[in-house]
Each structure stands twice: as C-alpha cells, then as structure tokens.
C-alpha cells in the first residue's frame, strides 16, 4: 500500500468514525482490509482502495469502516465496573428515582457482551433496584457487531471469557457449536445503530452511560466533543463509566471523578455550580 492510499483510508476513517489511524498502523490496516478485498472478489488491497476511491460506493465505504472498528469485548470485562453498578450506582439511583425507570446506555457495545452482562447482573440481584424497572439501550457503529449482538449468539471461545460456568448454565442454551443467550435477557436489551461522532444524535436521557475503551480511538478534540454530547444525554445525578485506563481529566468539565471508584464519573450539576 502506498502512502497516498494509506492517507486516503486514514482520512476516511477519521471523518466517518473519528478513528485516528497513525502511520504505524499500516499492518493493522492491511490485515483487516485483506479479508474485505477477498470478499469483494478483488485481487488485492490496492485494488480495493482503488475501487473505493473511484466509485465512492456507500455500501463499500461502510464495510471498510466496519472492519476497521475494534470489536474486542468480553463478558463482565474488568469486573470492577460491575461491582460499581452493584455496590453504588444501582442502589443510589433506585433510591433517587423513587420508582421511576432507570435508563442505561452502553455506547460502543460491540457484540453485546457488556449490555448482556448488565442484564445478567440485574437478574441475579433483583433486590438491587428495589423493583425499579431498568431499560438497557446498547449502540454501536458496526452493523456486523450489532447483528451478532441482537442474535445473542456467541462462540465457545467468547462464552469462556469472563463468564462463570454457572451463568452459562443458567442463561445460555447450546446451538450447534454456539451458545445463545436466553430470549428473556435478549428482550431486556435494545440494540441500535449509532455513530458517537454524529453531532445530531438524540437517544433520549440516560442515568447510566457505559462508554468503555471507545474514546481511546479518538483524538483529544473529538474525545471532548463526544463527552460533552454524552453529558447532554444524561439525567441529573447520572453516572458515566469509562475504561480502566480512561479519564475525563483535561477533556471535559461535565463530569467529576467518583471517589475511590476507578473509571467511574458523576455528571456535574451545572445549575448548582452557576448559582
């Protein structure tokens, strides 16, 4: 791949998905585009990029962005966010909401392990929300991931990462060489296609936002912009959960760190601050 082609793809990814692709990611680009070229019946990556550049076909551009998004995820990833939910977030919100619905948004949900983990956590701990109904909305930019997430179908490898065997036995059924999560849990999660960098997004207001290991692909300005937009989609008293190595420091004043809880941030009540 020549540098002009690399630059073209890098710009496309930045514009469409906010993904910053530096020069050292040439190998990543090539390893992900080769299967797409094969699928399109094209002899090489160079031909694939040539076709994208000359025809500007929306379908192909969308697929190129799709294969370049990272979909790494697993059940109960990092564990602590789910402890935060159990020990702090749900009890606090259930008390504050007084019977009103609690809304959770998983931004960048990939193949669905995160929202399904939250659904399992709630199912295992029915007293956690004191009977307050919880709505889980999960979004991703990738059609490929969303399709799999909606089906709730996981490989043997995926169900062995982070998922205790008791939960596999309780919530999954075997389907050929895959495992499918129960219909009941599938119904608890609504999956929607959504691009975090789209300035016009409106998904409603949420009390809890999980946006873990997503901002790391954006540059500083885009991180700030997305955090600001997430803040406008949250109810007062809401919580934001970022990845273990992520923070809002220097990026956003809309959130403040929750004491002793790594990766967890509280929405700042701006009206109070202004007074």
């Amino acid at each position: 791949m020549n540098s002009q082609d690399f630059e073209f793809v890098a710009q496309l990814l930045r514009k469409r998905a906010g993904i910053v692709l530096t020069g050292d990611k040439m190998y990543l680009l090539e390893s992900r585009l080769a299967p797409l070229a094969r699928k399109e019946g094209l002899p090489s990556i160079d031909d694939l990029i040539h076709v994208v550049r000359s025809r500007r076909e929306e379908r192909l551009i969308a697929q190129l962005v799709d294969v370049m998004t990272t979909s790494e995820t697993f059940f109960f990833r990092d564990k602590t966010p789910f402890e935060h939910l159990k020990e702090a977030i749900f009890p606090i919100l259930a008390n504050a909401r007084r019977g009103q619905r609690i809304r959770v948004w998983c931004a960048g949900c990939s193949t669905g392990q995160e929202p399904y983990s939250i659904a399992m956590l709630l199912d295992q701990n029915p007293a956690l929300t004191g009977g307050v109904p919880v709505e889980i909305v999960a979004t991703d930019i990738s059609d490929r991931c969303l399709e799999r997430a909606k089906q709730g179908l996981f490989t043997q490898f995926e169900v062995q990462r982070g998922l205790p065997i008791q939960m596999l036995m309780h919530y999954f059924t075997q389907q050929d060489d895959h495992w499918r999560i129960s219909e009941r849990l599938r119904q608890q999660v609504t999956f929607k296609k959504h691009n975090l960098i789209d300035p016009n997004f409106q998904l409603g207001k949420y009390d809890i936002v999980f946006c873990r290991n997503v901002l790391i692909y954006f540059d500083g300005a885009m991180k700030s912009e997305v955090l600001e937009r997430i803040a406008t989609q949250m109810n007062p008293g809401g919580f934001l959960m970022l990845g273990a190595a992520e923070s809002v420091t220097g990026l956003s004043t809309a959130f403040e760190s929750a004491q002793d809880r790594r990766g967890l941030f509280k929405l700042v009540n701006r009206n109070v601050k202004a007074a």
Binding site: F74, Q160, G162, P164, I165, M169, T173, Q174
Partner: protein, 121 residues
C-alpha cells in the same frame, strides 16, 4: 507458591497447560489418568486441579468423586478441561463437585479467566 495438578492423558496437552499455569505462578505437577492423580493428591493435596474427562484407568469424573471423599479432598479447586462441551456433561461435573469448567480447545486467556472466576489468580 500454589500447586496445580494437571490431569490429562495427552502429554502434549499437559505440556501446553503446564506452560500456562506456570506463567500464572503455579508449581505444576502432572498425572496421566485419574488414578495417578488420586495417588498424587493422597500424598499432598494441590491447590488446583486442571482435569480432563476421558482418560484410561480412571476418568476425570470418577477421580473427582473419589477426591471429594478423601480427607481434605474438599479443598482443591477443580477446573474441568475437556472436549465434552454439552450441557449434560457440564451439569454432571458441577453436581459432582467441580468448581469451574473449560471446554477444549483452551488457551492461556481462558485458563486465566476461569482461574480468576474461582479465586485462584
């Protein structure tokens, strides 16, 4: 250092598993069938057992039931590691006193994930 007994009739599988558990800072011991494993446990109970199902002489599930009847045999954390990947086998293993269950093929990530589920790492 914690001790992990690897029970599998395949020398190759034992070798791969040994490397993984040693990376997780376990002292590894090996047994090629359930009877050998039981003899090892009678001398000294390990902290963890990574256990295959189908083996000659004594299979994994018979070993597990015998182990749980031994004095101090309730202590080792037993993680099955087998090609038997259907729900009835999993349920039988758990009923017989297994703590976790790995469906082969496995890799270091799966072993680490399962060992952390049962508090071994």
């Amino acid at each position: 250092m914690k001790r992990c007994l690897i029970v599998d009739d395949s020398r190759v599988v034992r070798k791969v598993a040994r490397r993984i558990v040693e990376d997780l800072r376990f002292d590894a011991e090996e047994a090629a069938d359930g009877q050998q494993a039981l003899d090892t446990c009678r001398k000294q109970m390990p902290d963890a057992v990574l256990l295959d199902w189908n083996m000659p002489v004594m299979n994994g599930i018979d070993f597990l039931r015998a182990l749980r009847r031994e004095p101090g045999g309730d202590r080792p954390v037993v993680v099955f590691c087998t090609t038997e990947n259907d729900m009835s086998h999993i349920a039988e293993a758990m009923r017989s006193g297994a703590n976790e269950y790995i469906m082969k093929p496995f890799d270091s990530e799966i072993i680490e994930s399962k060992f952390s589920e049962v508090g071994l790492v």
